[in-house]
Subunit: 129 residues, 4 copies
Amino acid sequence: VLCCQIETRTGETNATGHIDHTVIPAWFEQARTPIYRLFNPELSFANWNTVIKKIEVDYVSQIYYGRRTEVRSTIAEIRNTSFTIRQELWQDDKLTASGRVILVHFDYQAGQKTPIPPSIRSRLQTLMP
Amino acid sequence: VLCCQIETRTGETNATGHIDHTVIPAWFEQARTPIYRLFNPELSFANWNTVIKKIEVDYVSQIYYGRRTEVRSTIAEIRNTSFTIRQELWQDDKLTASGRVILVHFDYQAGQKTPIPPSIRSRLQTLMP
Amino acid sequence: VLCCQIETRTGETNATGHIDHTVIPAWFEQARTPIYRLFNPELSFANWNTVIKKIEVDYVSQIYYGRRTEVRSTIAEIRNTSFTIRQELWQDDKLTASGRVILVHFDYQAGQKTPIPPSIRSRLQTLMP
Amino acid sequence: VLCCQIETRTGETNATGHIDHTVIPAWFEQARTPIYRLFNPELSFANWNTVIKKIEVDYVSQIYYGRRTEVRSTIAEIRNTSFTIRQELWQDDKLTASGRVILVHFDYQAGQKTPIPPSIRSRLQTLMP
């Protein structure tokens, strides 16, 4: 399991008093940094080589500002050119949201999706539950 | 179909040159304002009575800054206490993303979900395809 | 005076019930689009040629979600390579914030600031109060 | 000096390849958390008792995604009901932005500004350079 601590921000709350639902995809994105690094060790935008195909977020319970906040990510599935990450948001040991994102390995020069190399595939496999 | 024009912002792009994927849930939220108004005509936060249960976004093609941008929303399903909105993002007559959101009618005082009143239900039905 | 209507977003509020102060610089940026267009008619990022040198925002009174919101911009000063825009935020005919931004005309290829061309200068002058 | 490490996010970049200028006020806000805690130890929104009166940001050099990023805050001035924080943004030991924010101690119940209590004042003084 890949764990990422999140520092909540006051501006991420909304007038109902909780974290705005649109913030969770950004926290999940931040938690995927080590996975992007597998594909692009320098995190160079010029060499970016993954594309987000789909996101899903289930909101389980209220999400609060100022709590100990952690995103836990695992790899749910690996296909030829794409893979699925399952992500959970935990606050003070309570599950508050979960989601999935499908990422495609993409060759921007060729303009097409491309198989996930074996070396990356085996690294992703270590993150399967 | 409920249509909402979006004004793209430079800060919504990212270093790959396109609109960041985390922005689309915020655009979809903005496009739901008329639907929130059915439940809460003054859009008063003190009387907010819907909860987002789940969002899904499929990214279909690149989303650009500065293009004519429209979100088109329809009601996909109405259940007893919840309903599903299908939303599409169009730029210059091209579908660039689509999504679904499940909203629950919620009584914050009682702390529980509550049936959608018939008057709102019939208004939602006019937005079914 | 250059006027720009802003559509407030629920996610721009924070838990104190008002628009978060960090949102105002983004609204002011959006209101500067016609000014950026003078320098870069296609708003092409590859040809972007202004740099933000400084921003200032004075928060005058509470800023609310859902109100009729307008940013009014005028040119306060034009120098050789830079100019200052004064911006005001109005909600329902009340001034809620004001600010200034200093922009520098920049040649990214040469990596240095460069004089504002006379044709743009004269367009900017029409926006002086 | 109060130091706060910032985790940069991909969505905080823009299409010019750098961090969008509107993000810096949010980073500076995050870095002020320990100062808000002096006024409101639980960071409770119901008891929030400071108001942002003014912000200023000077952009000194390009701000990049993925670099070691730190905000350094000191107290520049303490008056009867308000005080000024000076903040600097450092990336890899280079100053990339600096700013000032004026905060007012505010009694929301009475609807007016109120003197900074001596106990908080002396804590703020320890952050003066």
